[in-house]
Amino acid sequence: MTQHDRESSPSMHETRLLDKQDFQKLVDLLWDQGYRVLGPTVSQAAIVFGEIRAIDDLPRGWTDEQSGGEYRLKRREDDAWFGFVVGPHSPKQHFFPSRVTVVAADRDGDAWRMRDVPDDEPPVALLGVRACDLAAIAVQDRTFMHARYSDPIYRRRREQALIIAVNCTQAASTCFCTSMNTGPRCSSGFDLALTELPDCFTVEVGSPQGAALAALLPTRPADPQALRQAEIARQHAVDDISKQLDTNDLRDLLLNNLEHPRWSEVATRCLSCTNCTMVCPTCFCSSVKEVSDLDVEHVERVREWDTCFNWDFSYLNGGVVRDQIRSRYRQWLTHKLASWVDQFGVSGCVGCGRCITWCPVGIDLTEEVAAIRETPV
């Protein structure tokens, strides 16, 4: 390393440039440092998180078209590497796995002994996290790492993870992060944040770990022209966003309209299929199941994602509290947009639009809120 290189090592909040031809070095470096690199890949006709070992694993030249109940992959006219928005996966999959053993019990003579089952998942580097998902991670941090109790699996995975964000340069028709003040610009919660330009990435340093990583990459100082280009690219995403959710007084609006006729109306369309909660990057409900060997000497307690749309989620004393789809949809929407604020101090919605795209009948929560706002009871 020359004296000049050392002087130009990146510092916090500095923006540098990384040529696309050097991007593989970033991926290699992460694997060398012991991270499992997860990023966007094309699989099952969608862009989902998968292992990234080479830049060829990225969905280069692909984009997504999204609207209510619809998601399609399309070839781009250019060769952009990150020319799409969010797919059905989110960082939630990794930090809050859909199925994981939380504790085990063994029969020891005539007694039961419980034991911890340590999570041995290697540290991950999440590549390509968008601003809405950075916000979603911050929302889930409040759920799983709160003061009185924290989830050991979530906490460990979260603390070990490295986050390399990518700024959106376009938006889907379902995106409304500007309404939720979560994007599209990545402003915090990342180690590095990239903005894609035709031949290079701007690299913004967001943490000491990010600075250390950037220092090992062949970056160069960002010239004003590149910075301007990046700003224009990011502005494209802002200009692209068409959907809006009026959040003014939203908590009180919903909690004061628990008997609004709209809940019955939306229940005629909602299939209670649970898709919205599965793709939501903040939904956190779960159930724990018993998995034992045949003679019930060893038992594992396995936590799986559950959802308020499942009929027996509110099981109580031989019945269920939320027997109707009306009450289940109401629970989801009022929790997400209203009571979440009471519980965690923030909205549970980050405006990613996944619940709209992946709803098989295209129910759009922004339209449901607008309908209630139009005729409050």
């Binding site: 109790y149 559950d306 009022t334």
Partner: protein, 286 residues
């Protein structure tokens, strides 16, 4: 168990401590009270709870269930848990007996405001096995230093043979408890009231509304009408506490099952001051 293992219990909310059934008392058909003692002596001395709180009882291979603590000391006779057979876990519990092993974690949740209401006349309003989380209140009130205020229990059950803890009633009244029982279906020897619990609230006398507190636990419809009666008789909402029941799985606010409006019943409850939860109590299917 080593200090390290104890620390792990604090780290992993799912780790329950081994307990043994010290005694089982059959209350009536389908309802029994289990006295549970920790296998590890250190847990028995460090464990403390406040009346109104609950434990998660775990039958390995079957599952966990939230059961309120009905008195008892971990370091003596054991922690009392009154359980009605309703689902898988309670059915498995019913097959266990004295000396059998299971696991317990807790205590969780909010408690009855005993300090705050020390000098108030307390009216306990219970229906069915809703008396379970109030039993420790009765004990705490009657055990305390010469009370300046009264304790009244208004208790209703379907029939005289399903009155919970009725073997203890004489002892309680002997130590100063004012007790009134009502049943829906009396038998020929029944000399108490007949009818719903709210009627007992309607007929209550000798209690100054300004200096009283109501603690309610039972079916939500019973609590709703009892509260209505109390409010009509000059009690303010801020003097009423209710204990609510919802599906609880994690007990630490992580699993989402027990929500009622903004409340996680497992953490913010099960005991709520009435004015804080009222807007959500009357909404059907919430």
């Amino acid at each position: 168990m080593s200090a390290l293992a104890s620390a792990a219990i604090a780290d992993n909310p799912w780790l329950a401590a081994s307990v043994r059934i010290a005694d089982v008392v059959t209350e009536f058909a389908g309802v029994a009270t289990y006295y549970l003692q920790f296998d590890e002596p250190a847990r028995a001395t460090s464990y403390g709870y406040a009346p109104g709180q609950f434990n998660m009882l775990y039958v390995p291979g079957v599952g966990e269930i939230a059961i309120s603590i009905s008195g008892g000391l971990a370091s003596r006779e054991g922690l009392a848990h009154t359980v009605r057979v309703a689902g898988n876990v309670t059915q498995s519990l019913a097959r266990l007996g004295k000396g059998d092993s299971l696991a317990l974690r807790g205590p969780y949740g909010s408690a009855w405001p005993l300090d705050e209401t020390r000098d108030a006349d307390i009216v306990l309003v219970a229906g069915g096995i809703g008396l379970a989380p109030l039993r420790a209140v009765v004990e705490a009130r009657l055990d305390g230093p010469s009370p300046r205020a009264s304790t009244t229990l208004l208790y209703g059950a379907r029939s005289p043979d399903v009155l919970l803890y009725d073997r203890e009633f004489a002892g309680w009244t002997g130590r100063g408890l004012h007790l009134q029982c009502t049943v829906d279906r009396p038998h020929r020897l029944w000399v108490g009231h007949v009818g719903a619990v709210p009627l007992l609230v309607d007929r209550l006398s000798g209690i100054a509304p300004a200096n009283c507190a109501l603690f309610l636990c039972g079916p939500e419809v019973m609590m709703r009408y009892s509260v209505r009666s109390a409010l009509a008789r000059g009690v303010r909402k801020e003097q009423i506490w209710v204990s609510l029941e919802r599906n609880m799985q994690c007990a630490v606010g992580l699993c989402g099952h027990c929500q009622l409006g903004p409340a996680f019943v497992c953490q913010d409850g099960p005991v709520f001051r009435y004015d804080k939860i009222e807007p959500y109590l009357d909404v059907e299917d919430l």
